[in-house]
């Protein structure tokens, strides 16, 4: 090994350390303060640095990479095998191909979080590789990866049973009722699921999901045009921790769905829910904190007002706006409690109340 003595101050007998031998934890500490590009540069400085970074680096984002992301991933992941968080979102043109994701599956067995959003060129091979190689995944974003099909998604769900957060927005071919049944069967830990614009999802998929994933906290069904009240009723009945529900443009939804939410709230007030793990969280009895029913044109003001009255965290007032009803001409009279108070007592009360 060549020692690092390129341009030391001449005859400084005091010097004992040299940068080449910088202890791993110090190098990683310094690299935690620079950008990911600089981390990669540093890994190319010498074998000591490469090995230290390979051993210690747990989080990397290559989203800044404008071209050649595919080759970069393929060359880096064999060195960075301890990665737990990898962000490969492509903000511009899609670059990633299956070969890169296969490399991730082959080398990064510790991976917990992976963002592949907007990887339009990936095929099922990628999901198979992740299923085989990354069983610890708990957070996966494949939104916009439109080429995946439901058999690959089912396979992934079967392999990655720790999934807690799954973003499938726009994966219209992958997200079928069959795939959701696989998710519900294997991923019982799931807490957050985005099914936005997966237009082939029907009540069958969502009801099975509700039955299999009782820990769901956030569910985005925006643009799932086939679903009806049955889906919402199942979610309301089976998922006591639900905090966020997006039903944008689900135009089959009627008042019945709204009243099922109200009823679930009544049940939780009366302590009918099992007192299971998770209910000890501080704000666990807050109930719904976000509800988007914009463009759900069949809803009436009475039903939505009942929902709003049942969940104190839902607001229509400007600052907080967590009950979104835009585009529903029949709902303009719906008001959250503080808006009504403000109307009665002037704005001072609103400011007081809105901490």
């Amino acid at each position: 090994m060549v020692s690092g003595s390129g341009e030391k101050m001449e005859a400084e007998p005091e010097l004992v350390m040299c940068w080449k031998d910088l202890p791993m934890e110090l190098l990683l500490r310094i690299l935690s303060l620079v950008d990911d590009r600089m981390v990669i540069v540093s890994s190319a400085v010498c074998t000591g640095w490469r090995d230290a970074i390979g051993f210690g680096l747990t989080s990397l984002s290559l989203s800044w990479c404008k071209n050649n992301m595919n080759n970069l991933v393929r060359s880096l992941v064999p060195k960075f095998t301890k990665l737990q968080v990898l962000t490969l979102r492509q903000n511009n043109a899609p670059q990633l191909e299956d070969s890169a994701v296969e490399a991730v599956g082959n080398y990064c067995h510790d991976l917990r979080e992976l963002d592949l959003s907007k990887s339009l060129r990936l095929t099922n091979q990628s999901l198979y590789a992740l299923g085989r190689g990354c069983p610890l995944l708990n957070k996966l974003n494949i939104s916009g990866c439109s080429a995946f099909t439901d058999s690959a998604l089912s396979y992934l769900a079967c392999c990655c049973r720790n999934l807690k957060t799954l973003n499938l927005c726009g994966c219209a071919r992958a997200v079928t009722d069959r795939a959701l049944q696989a998710v519900s069967r294997h991923c019982s830990e799931l807490q957050s699921l985005n099914l936005g614009w997966c237009e082939s999802v029907s009540d069958k998929g969502v009801t099975s999901l509700a039955a299999g994933c009782p820990n769901l906290r956030a569910l985005d069904l925006c643009g799932c045009v086939l679903i009806t009240d049955e889906s919402v009723i199942a979610i309301a009945n089976c998922c006591p921790h639900l905090r966020s529900l997006d039903l944008y443009y689900c135009q089959n939804i009627t008042d019945r769905a709204m009243y099922s939410l109200v009823n679930s709230r009544m049940k939780s007030w009366h302590g009918l829910w099992r007192d299971d793990a998770g209910s000890s969280h501080g704000n666990d009895n807050e109930g719904l904190m976000n509800l988007n029913i914009s463009q759900c044109t069949a809803l009436t003001a009475a039903a939505v007002q009942a929902v709003c009255d049942s969940f104190p965290s839902l607001h229509t007032c400007p600052g907080r706006h967590s009950l979104i009803i835009s585009g529903c001409l029949g709902l303009t009279s719906v008001r959250c409690a503080c808006a009504i108070h403000a109307h009665r007592a002037g704005k001072a009360y609103l400011a007081d109340h809105a901490y």
Partner: protein, 166 residues
């Protein structure tokens, strides 16, 4: 610098830090306690003004380096309440880490060894700022590190990440 010695009120505890090159730094407990390592050690062995504990330091912490660390610890033991408040303290910190790169390395190492978290933050940030936007060659040159990759490896790296060398 006298801010670290305070008024010697007879019984104030002292501790002696002895570097490998034989220099001794006598500091008060408030200064020593800025270092997690010394604090732990002294809570075990104790020290007094009549018979101060002598703590030998590893060879990597030279007297020049220890001087910097002690300067930092004395100033911070006095805190932001004196000498112009927090603003002056921040300026002191800024100037303290204006060091040449070899000294910066040694102080970083000493701060890590002695567990002086804020000083370690300062020096780490100074190094991070120095190498920001550098290429591989610039980093090697800056730190005096010679590549020990084989020719083959070096070639592969250059072809994989050509931008890292630009």
């Amino acid at each position: 610098m006298s801010e670290g010695t305070k008024e010697p009120d007879g019984g104030e505890e002292k501790v002696v830090l002895k570097t490998h090159d034989g220099q001794e730094f006598t500091v008060d407990m408030a200064t020593a306690n800025q270092s997690g390592t010394l604090k732990n050690l002294l809570s075990e062995v104790g020290s007094s003004s009549n018979n101060p504990q002598v703590i030998p330091l590893p060879s990597s912490i030279t007297s020049r380096v220890l001087g910097k660390v002690v300067e930092y610890c004395q100033r911070h033991a006095a805190g932001g309440g004196r000498r112009g408040g927090m603003q002056a303290l921040e300026q002191f910190d800024e100037e303290l880490v204006e060091l040449d790169k070899d000294m910066l390395l040694d102080v970083t190492y000493a701060a890590a060894f002695l567990d002086v978290p804020r000083l370690l933050d300062l020096t780490s940030q100074a190094v991070a700022d120095a190498i920001k936007n550098m290429s591989v060659e610039e980093v090697r040159h800056y730190f005096g590190v010679v590549s020990d990759f084989t020719e083959e490896e070096e070639k592969v790296i250059r072809s994989e990440c050509p931008w890292a060398f630009e």
